[in-house]
Symmetry: C2
Subunit: 314 residues, 2 copies
């Protein structure tokens, strides 16, 4: 997969997705910019309020048109449900018992069937396999470990470069690595001078460990409020891409994530979910880090339980 594949993908999906704004905020520069500008790529304004429909739609367009049965607890579930509705493909999502009601509603809204199965990733993957066997047709799609999904997520960076090519640092969160492997590919094959930085919560810092050890490491039972970044490890397809193209890996505590949510709320007027605010939290958690130019932060999603949000913002 290369830059050209991401460009072709964009032609395939652009009329159905939102081109999200790249916002600039003076108050945020004053607080965190150290003399450089901060730009926010607002995927919270994407359809279903996260970047995930880009990859989900591309995957459903490119793969055989058979029913989809897949596992997700959150934003990918809503995205696949939406993409299935666009293309008339039946979708079943296996979700954990403790799924938030807002994410279940968001998934059902677009017509997907929701099946609840256990609390662990493994229980849900087993249920996906069971359903596929029972039904005798269909396939599962990984939220990140899939080249078609990665191409779609890479269109986030493509839009950023179209909107404002002259920046130096690009920050995005790393969970399974789908968003970051697509974006890093696009950026580095456009201009190797772009510096690409992946950010993770302390309680799910498997990518940081993987880079240190030079192989995929796992963090079971991730502990962080950033529920979109809890996957135990990056995908096998993502790892070599991330390893090749990501310049730096940064880790942030949950408290810095809450503080960056607060800056975005009070200074910019945005409601961002913890995973979505994790990239900006790098500046909060690492005041010693010195930017060498303007910075782009991917705000990856805005699906947050409003009761929790109000408590965090108190």
């Amino acid at each position: 997969m290369n830059k050209k594949d991401i460009e072709n993908c964009y032609e395939r999906i652009r009329t159905r997705i939102q081109r999200t704004p790249l916002l600039h905020s003076d108050p945020l520069d004053s607080r965190l910019g150290k003399g450089h500008k901060i730009y926010l790529k607002c995927e919270n304004f994407q359809i279903t309020r996260s970047y995930k429909p880009r990859g989900a739609l591309n995957a459903l367009l490119k793969k055989p048109k058979v029913p989809v049965v897949t596992r997700s607890s959150g934003n990918f579930a809503q995205a696949v449900s939406w993409a299935g509705a666009q293309l008339d493909i039946p979708v079943t999502i296996v979700m954990p018992e403790n799924v938030s009601s807002i994410k279940m509603e968001g998934t059902r809204k677009w017509g997907a069937e929701v099946v609840i199965a256990g609390t662990t990733y493994q229980e849900q993957y087993d249920k996906v396999d069971e359903l596929l066997r029972q039904r005798g047709e269909g396939h599962s799609i990984s939220a990140f470990n899939d080249l078609d999904v990665i191409e779609g997520q890479g269109t986030v960076a493509l839009e950023v470069v179209e909107q404002m090519p002259a920046f130096r640092h690009f920050f995005a969160p790393v969970g399974g690595g789908g968003l970051m492997s697509g974006c890093a590919t696009y950026l580095k094959e456009t201009d190797p001078n772009y510096e690409v930085i992946g950010v993770e919560p302390e309680g799910a810092a498997d990518f940081f460990q993987s880079r240190q050890q030079g192989k995929i490491c796992r963090v079971e039972n991730a502990d962080t409020i950033a529920d979109g970044l809890r996957s135990p490890s990056v995908g096998e397809i993502n790892w070599p891409i991330l390893n090749r193209y990501v310049d730096e890996s940064m880790v942030v505590p949950d408290q810095a994530i809450i503080e960056s949510m607060r800056y975005l709320f009070e200074e910019v007027g945005l409601v961002i979910e913890p995973s979505g605010a994790t990239s900006l939290a790098a500046l909060v958690a690492h005041p010693e880090w010195e930017p060498k130019g303007d910075m782009v932060f991917v705000l990856s999603g805005g699906n947050v339980d409003m009761k929790k949000f109000m408590v965090w913002m108190r």
Copy 2:
């Protein structure tokens, strides 16, 4: 002043202002759209978090380069202060005693001198005159009753038409009428089929009364949470323009404004001040009104005291 003037104005100011996003939200459509789409023109993401810099910058560019002494309690103050800083023009703002600290800080931030004078519009206008006499140079600029300001505010509609020409209804708030007279001119001279609707809070419904009586009416001591819309009447320059081009005038109670703020907060993830949410409140307050096509709502600003905001959103 006509459409061409607004186009020329846009060429003058476009490199210094933000081109704000026109957002679409499926959940908002489901709640309020009645089968049509709702688009949000997000002037809360403009510099200083309101549309006012467009007109302030245009006025300072076109008028003699002398110091500005003017009255404002809010968003125009911040906008003139910002525009003065851009063009190296000294700015003094006369503000009321009860001005919110957030708006005073926002004004001082860009370098303007702030002078506090009384609680009524008249006391502040008197202070402006006194300062101009004492200093022997400079002029005052109205926040709305000024053709250069109106041209600038009309660029909001110009951007909307560039971003998405195929809509039917255009909603914007009416205070002094600067935003609405610029936007209505641009829209009606582009296509008379655009339907232009001005929205006011019940406690400051001077434009509604003016239309009924066919002459400018005043509402002294306006009573509404929408502090940007409390001017006692529309301007003399604005009135004939509004009278010619605005199709309908709608009035909303403060409770509907709070409810539209809540929809924007919970369903879209936006922090909007009461004045800024007033246009959308028309749909909340008038469920009997039937759209004939897609709708655009100008979210005119996002400068809100966060403590009050949190109380309203409870």
